[in-house]
């Protein structure tokens, strides 16, 4: 489902003396449907960078990243947008929303973008928010004022609203208590069971061993810091 071959990435900082920083070189691996793969490595090894490259958020200088057959390294923006709407989900560490929009609508939005009727999308959003222990009295409020853990859970609910065939999870269990952590792990298990290909970053080792089938050490692909 997700297929990387000979992927490399460097940053050129034009306003800081044109410094070139090689971040990742020659990564190749594949994730099959129903499989969950963990990216590991020390802080700064490039785990999040690699994940953002797979999402098309960062440009990839060389190689191929195929998701469901589409090479996102060479795709037009509109194809990547369509891929993100239909196929590829991403739960980032931070929630980024239009201020003033109620939590329920924030969570339902990925489904509304897929033309799911409003009431059906809201039902699914309600179910997820309930499952993630967000009290109903908060659903009509914007999540911008919520606590860190609450925002994280809203972000997860939003990420799991649509049953994406491929998912990227950046520390989905960070800043969660034990009960909510279990809920998130079961959501991941469910996604795997329905055949989603998942790539995750988990600092929580117990969570990692619980849901992941394989680990890939990103440190192996990190060249010396500055070229």
């Amino acid at each position: 489902m997700i297929d990387l071959s000979n992927v490399s990435k460097s940053f050129t900082l034009h306003n800081q003396g044109g410094a070139v920083i090689e971040v990742i070189s020659n990564v190749s691996f594949a994730v099959a449907t129903g499989e969950c793969v963990a990216l590991t490595g020390a802080s700064g090894a490039g785990k999040s960078t690699l994940m953002r490259m797979i999402y098309g958020n960062y440009l990839t200088q060389a190689g191929e990243i195929r998701i469901g057959g589409l090479d996102i390294v060479r795709s037009e923006p509109r194809d990547i947008i369509k891929l993100r709407r239909d196929v590829l989900g991403y739960v980032s560490q931070f929630l980024r929303v239009v201020p003033r929009v109620p939590t329920l609508d924030v969570v339902a939005e990925p489904l509304r973008a897929l033309k799911v009727p409003a009431d059906e999308a809201q039902d699914r959003a309600s179910a997820l928010l309930t499952q993630l222990n967000i009290p109903e009295r908060l659903w009509s409020l914007s999540p911008t004022t919520f606590s860190g853990g609450e925002q994280q859970r809203v972000n997860i609910a939003r990420g799991f609203a649509h049953t994406y065939p491929a998912m990227l999870l950046d520390e989905p269990t960070a800043s969660l208590d034990a009960a909510n952590r279990e809920v998130v792990l079961s959501l991941i298990e469910d996604a795997k069971a329905r055949g989603a290909a998942i790539i995750g970053i988990f600092h929580d080792e117990a969570a990692r061993t619980h849901v992941c089938d394989r680990e890939i050490d990103v440190g192996c692909f990190t060249p010396g810091m500055v070229a």
């Binding site: 900082l13 306003n15 958020n57 923006p77 239009v98 201020p99 003033r100 973008a113």
Partner: protein, 256 residues
């Protein structure tokens, strides 16, 4: 799929000074494109060339018309282009007063565009006007009030209602949230996003506010001294800018 708008080699000079130079891109149905750059980078010149307010020195602006398919709007006859401006196109000005008829009631402002496309039944027009005031969150009881009695944010929302009532397929926006305070901006962004999604609109938004394009635009073009220096997915250009100028632009935003 046929692009809704295909812009090819648009160039506009003011004497020896370059307004914008050799800009080309395709916009597909349902896409929202942002154009950012500092003051004087040519983004408004480009927008006005595309919308038919300025005549470019070179280039084509091909629009996929409902009846005859793709047509170059620059060589189109003036009546044809004006008709397009009343039906399939809409233009939201930065200053609501430039886009409103300030001496006419709110309902009249919305109804006028309907009459321009041939609606004649007063009752129908008034109902549609009220419906649109509701959609942009203006109380229907204000339908007979003049925009001069409205706040800046309400005037801007009225301008949007006036523009969208005829169901356009392409909306040009010039700094639509400029000059509004942040709470009103957020409300307007939420409104615009909903309208774009529910009506399947395509839009081109010129702004210098990177937060606005991040929330509204699928794609982004960065302009500097009349030229496009970088283009791509909005979040990619903002999070991993490649050109020196885009990097400077993104890193210059103050963190709140």
């Amino acid at each position: 799929m046929t692009p809704l708008l295909s812009v090819q080699g648009i160039t506009k000079r003011y004497g020896t000074h370059i307004g914008c130079a050799d800009v080309s891109f395709d916009l597909y149905p349902g896409e929202v494109m942002g154009i950012v750059g500092e003051s004087g980078s040519g983004k408004s010149t480009l927008l006005n060339c595309m919308a038919g307010h300025l005549t470019p020195d070179a280039g084509q602006v091909v629009f996929d018309t409902r009846t005859d398919g793709p047509h170059d709007t620059i060589t189109m006859s003036e009546p044809e282009r004006r008709m397009l401006g009343r039906t399939d196109w809409a233009f939201v000005h930065q200053h609501a007063r430039d886009g409103l008829r300030i001496g006419v009631s709110a309902g009249g402002n919305v109804g006028e565009r309907l009459m321009a496309v041939g609606e004649r039944n007063y009752g129908d027009i008034r109902e549609k006007a009220k419906d649109w005031l509701g959609r942009v969150e203006i109380d229907a009881s204000r339908v007979d009030d003049r925009p001069t009695t409205f706040s800046g944010g309400m005037q801007q929302r009225l301008q949007i209602a006036r523009n969208l009532v005829t169901g356009p397929r392409l909306v040009f926006m010039d700094e639509p949230t400029g000059g509004l305070d942040v709470s009103v901006q957020a409300r307007l962004l939420d409104l615009l996003r909903g309208l774009v999604r529910d009506m399947g609109l395509s839009a081109i938004i010129v702004t210098h506010d990177l937060a606005v394009v991040r929330l509204l635009a699928d794609r982004l073009m960065v302009m500097k001294t009349g030229r496009v220096v970088e283009a791509g997915l909005t979040d990619q250009v903002l999070d991993d800018p490649q050109h020196a100028y885009s990097q400077l632009l993104v890193s210059s935003v103050l963190q709140v």
